[in-house]
């Protein structure tokens, strides 16, 4: 049993173990959940330390037959792209458990069980190397999130949960049709084998077929990202979800979409991707600007952060469809950044909600006086989110813009407007909530961070700084994986050969250039 299988199995085991804990012992339930989540996280750190960043292909691979007919494999493995997303999932799960420690007091057992099941599904999505297995995990992750929003959410939780489920389901059934179609042509679900067949022209799609298949996959992923105009489920889901739900949704689940685009859509259907790229990029840029403008006028903090996600994810899509090494690297880095900084924003907004029981910006003001530490942390996160140099988002946004500029300078110009707007809405939010006069309601309710709250937020802040100042810890495996993806899709060799040949060097080059 490789370490990777252990990382996948632990949350599932935790889920089943939780089912057998009596429901009148909430403290034991919380303890077990956090223990499982922490062990999973530690195990996943092992993945990073023993990951060979120069190694080609999938590492920690396991390939056994799950269902003999039609042949479906339990085939998992990670490359530089999956590695960090897995660790992002395992990092955020214990944080979510800590955040929900007190705030979830009804049906505690189900809540933590669903959270672990969600972790299981998310890790599975990022490590599956079999199209069918990928689809299975994709759907499995949907169910716990549906319950997390629907049971423990705010007033309009049911509407939001059902909308979330139906949007994703509608997209994913089309993907299922695509998966089956590919199987009928290739005779296998194994992703590497399918790519090999495509490369060797053992199977070939006509351009019409390729376009339809591309769209079948693309729509499923675009809904999840979410790409404008398919984003309407997201503000509802985010606002109504409990804090832990919002964090998992924003930080990890949205990455399922961008991960799918990068891992499957582009390498499988490069021609169609190239043909659609201008349209997709236009949508991404609209998303960047539109998300930022809508965020600016939100009276609700959570909704503001939700729309900012639409804007940030637009950058990721832009990076991917620039088809340049830098753009792809930036997109992946931005996926992680968004996971860390938006996750932290949701955690902090959750803290404010627990104190004041309101999400309306007008109910706050002058919070910096009663809660200076909370304000400081919020400020750091805000600055990270708007892309201040030395904090993480700067790196990702810079790389995306650079990559986009290489492909088409105009794209970078329009996208850069989004960066400016993000500074506007985030700083304005900060000003309204933390500065100014402190109303009586705020002074009496809002207190500073507790130990548990510190424990949940510090890892995220540390990551913001680490990822902002020392990219070589993270970028080399990503660059390597992205180079492989571009190779598979036979794209933009021009831009890549202009950089030093070995991918490892490319990363150094990138950081030196900065």
């Amino acid at each position: 049993m490789t370490l990777l299988n252990l990382v996948l199995a632990l949350p599932a085991c935790g889920f089943f173990a939780l089912l057998f804990v009596p429901r009148d012992k909430p403290q034991a339930i919380r303890g077990l959940a956090i223990a499982v989540a922490l062990i999973t996280f530690i195990a996943s750190i092992g993945l990073a330390t023993s990951f060979e960043s120069g190694g080609a292909g999938m590492q920690f691979a396991t390939d056994v037959i799950w269902i003999p007919s039609p042949e479906i494999h339990y085939h998992v493995g990670i490359d530089g792209l999956s590695l960090w997303l897995v660790i992002l999932s395992t990092l955020l799960t214990p944080i979510c458990i800590l955040v929900s420690w007190r705030s979830i007091d009804k049906r505690v057992k189900e809540f933590f069980a669903f959270l672990l099941l969600l972790e299981f599904g998310l890790i599975g999505v990022f490590i599956s190397q079999d199209l069918f297995l990928f689809y299975v995990f994709w759907e499995v992750s949907l169910v716990p999130m549906y319950f997390l929003i629907g049971i423990w959410g705010h007033e309009r939780r049911i509407y939001a949960a059902v909308k979330f489920f139906l949007f994703t389901m509608a997209g994913s059934v089309l993907m299922l049709a695509g998966v089956i179609y590919i199987y009928n042509r290739a005779g296998t679900f194994d992703y590497a084998a399918i790519l090999k067949m495509l490369a060797g022209s053992k199977i070939a799609f006509t351009s019409g077929q390729e376009m339809l298949l591309f769209l079948a996959f693309f729509i499923a992923f675009a809904i999840k990202v979410p790409l404008f105009p398919l984003h309407t489920w997201l503000p509802d889901a985010h606002v109504e979800a409990p804090t832990a739900g919002s964090v998992m949704l924003a930080s990890v689940m949205l990455k399922m979409g961008t991960y799918g685009l990068l891992r499957f859509c582009v390498p499988l259907f490069p021609e169609a991707a190239r043909r659609c790229a201008p349209w997709i990029i236009v949508l991404a840029i609209i998303g960047i600007i539109y998300g930022a403008l809508v965020a600016m006028v939100q009276p609700n903090m959570k909704k503001l952060v939700a729309y900012s996600s639409v804007s940030h994810l637009g950058f990721v899509v832009l990076g991917i469809f620039s088809f340049t090494q830098l753009g792809l690297d930036g997109a992946v880095y931005q996926m992680l950044n968004h996971g860390i900084s938006t996750g932290a924003l949701f955690v902090l907004v959750g803290y404010l909600y627990e104190r004041r029981h309101s999400l309306a910006i007008t109910d706050f003001g002058g919070v910096a006086t009663p809660a200076p530490w909370l304000s400081t942390i919020f400020l750091i996160t805000t600055l990270a989110s708007i892309g201040l140099p030395t904090l993480n988002n700067f790196v990702g946004e810079y790389l995306v813009l650079q990559g986009a500029a290489q492909a088409n300078f105009k794209w970078a110009v329009f996208a850069a407007i989004g960066v400016i707007l993000s500074a506007c809405y985030m700083l304005w939010l900060y000003q309204r909530v933390f500065y100014g006069d402190t109303p009586e309601a705020v002074t009496s309710h809002v207190h500073d961070l507790s130990h548990r709250e510190w424990a949940a937020i510090v890892p995220l802040v540390a990551m913001m700084v680490w990822m902002g100042v020392y990219t070589p810890s993270f970028l080399p495996p990503i660059t390597r994986a992205n180079a492989a993806i571009l190779d598979q899709s036979r794209m933009n060799v021009r831009f890549r050969v202009s950089l030093p040949p070995a991918p490892l060097l490319t990363a150094r080059e990138v950081s030196r250039a900065r």
Partner: protein
């Protein structure tokens, strides 16, 4: 007198399941006249024992395949698969009925006898290789079902249900019979293999138009029995009115048997004119899925909702029929098995929660069930997720195999429309999950008694089966795949 006038002993053994069911069913009626309602529990136990015996006999008969009764019947893998399926549904129904019958004060042997006779008829249907035997089996099964639908004779809804079922059912049977008469007139035979031979020989005296009419007539008759659109009108009223365990039974067993007959007739006798009937099945599949799913969206009565959902599920199976391949047949078989498990399970929960006189069958009556009875709610969740088609459940693999077979047969649009349909379907199943987990407990959820042993078995067994099919589907699929090779 022909040499094989008396059946050989091996032929009788091949039909041991039917014989066991008949004997136990008759015995139940005799006992009923002696013991009345005092022996209520005994009847249930006896019919369980009979069904278990029949199940064992059916499994045994799988090991000794071959024709019987001058080739009118055939005990092949296909028949064995469906026999095991309908008998298992019978077992689950009886398990789910114990408490229900006691609650309604109708703990009679008759009920169990009717269930056994109905299953016996279905066993004949699925093993018959001759249109006459198919018809006889269908009638035995149907007449028992008509009575069962109106079993609580004091109840108005039961009466309505039975009468509708009977009138429309007889009408549909007439279509089937008329079709049989036509094809007999054309081919001078009711034997499926012979009919196939005649159709293959391109005999100039056999008018293709008349053959088409006969096939269409039979399709109408069987379309009614499987509740495929546009012959589905009866299903919601009948399922809603009938006693809940009977609805569970009717939505699974007679439907599976009717599909078996449909597959056998159209994949053997009418296979030579496949390209002719495929568009009809294609259309019926699309209509069933669409009408079923969209009508279910607005239902407030769970039984009626499940009835519409069963129409939609018939549509999915019809997609597999339209694929006209052995993979398609195997997919249909797998789906029917998975569907039987999840649907009987869901109806068993309805049976449990409905209370005396079936007062609580609204979607809102499920409110807060998760708080009052987390275990029951969790089981219903499994069935509903399987009905939606979420991975790791049998329903998912059922859909997967069906649409895979359909794509292999190049039914691209039907696949896309079918998959979109299944996304629509998610909405109404989610509604039940929503009220169950996210609303405050209702009167019904609070009043529900703890699960009885029989019901617990009738819920846990299908739930385990659903998971098993969702995680290790290949065992059943291989069985289905082997059995899908029909004798021609």
């Amino acid at each position: 007198m022909p040499a094989d006038f008396f059946p050989k002993s091996v032929e009788l053994l091949r039909f041991l399941p039917e014989i066991v069911l008949t004997i136990v069913g008759t015995l139940l009626m005799v006992l009923e006249s002696i013991g009345g309602q005092r022996w209520g529990r005994l009847y249930g136990n006896l019919s369980l024992a009979g069904l278990a015996g029949a199940l064992a006999a059916a499994i045994w008969a799988y090991g000794s395949p071959g024709p019987a009764f001058s080739g009118m019947m055939i005990a092949d893998g296909f028949g064995a698969f469906f026999r095991i399926l309908v008998i298992s549904v019978g077992i689950l129904t009886v398990l789910a009925s114990y408490r229900y019958l006691g609650r309604e004060g109708v703990d009679t042997g008759e009920y169990h006898a009717l269930i056994l006779f109905s299953i016996m008829g279905q066993c004949i249907m699925v093993t018959a290789n001759d249109l006459i035997m198919i018809f006889i089996g269908l009638e035995i099964s149907s007449i028992a079902s008509y009575v069962l639908a109106g079993y609580l004779r004091e109840d108005k809804r039961n009466n309505e249900s039975a009468l509708k079922y009977f009138l429309l059912g007889s009408f549909a049977t007439a279509f089937l019979l008329y079709g049989i008469a036509w094809i007999y007139g054309l081919t001078k035979s009711t034997d499926l293999t012979v009919i196939r031979g005649v159709l293959l020989s391109h005999d100039a005296t056999v008018s293709p138009i008349l053959v088409a009419v006969s096939a269409a007539l039979m399709l109408v008759g069987l379309g009614f029995k499987v509740s495929g659109a546009p012959f589905q009108i009866w299903a919601p009223d009948v399922y809603q009115g009938a006693p809940a365990p009977v609805s569970a039974f009717m939505s699974a067993a007679p439907k599976a048997a009717a599909f078996a007959v449909l597959l056998r007739i159209f994949m053997t006798a009418f296979a030579p004119i496949g390209s002719g009937w495929e568009p009809l099945v294609w259309l019926s599949a699309l209509l069933s899925m669409t009408i079923g799913n969209f009508a279910a969206l607005t239902q407030s009565n769970v039984k009626r909702l499940l009835a519409y959902s069963s129409i939609a599920h018939a549509g999915y199976v019809l997609v597999a029929v339209a694929a006209r391949s052995e993979t398609g047949t195997a997919a249909a078989m797998f789906y029917l098995a998975a569907y039987a498990l999840m649907n009987v399970g869901a109806f068993a929960v309805v049976t449990h929660l409905s209370g005396k006189g079936e007062r609580f069958v609204g979607v809102d009556d499920f409110a807060g069930l998760a708080e009052r009875q987390p275990f029951t709610a969790a089981l219903l969740t499994i069935f509903l997720l399987s009905l939606i088609g979420v991975p790791l459940t049998g329903g998912f693999f059922g859909k997967f195999y069906i649409f895979k077979a359909a794509l292999e047969s190049h039914l691209v649009w039907l696949t896309v429309l079918g998959l979109l349909n299944s996304a629509v379907a998610a909405y109404y199943y989610l509604r039940i999950l929503v009220v169950m987990y996210m609303h405050e407990p209702s009167e019904a959820a609070s009043a529900a008694e703890p699960l009885s042993t029989g019901l617990k078995a009738a819920l846990v067994l299908p739930a385990l089966g659903t998971f098993f099919l969702g995680i290790f589907p290949s065992a059943l699929l291989i069985f289905a795949g082997k059995s899908a090779v029909l004798v021609r």
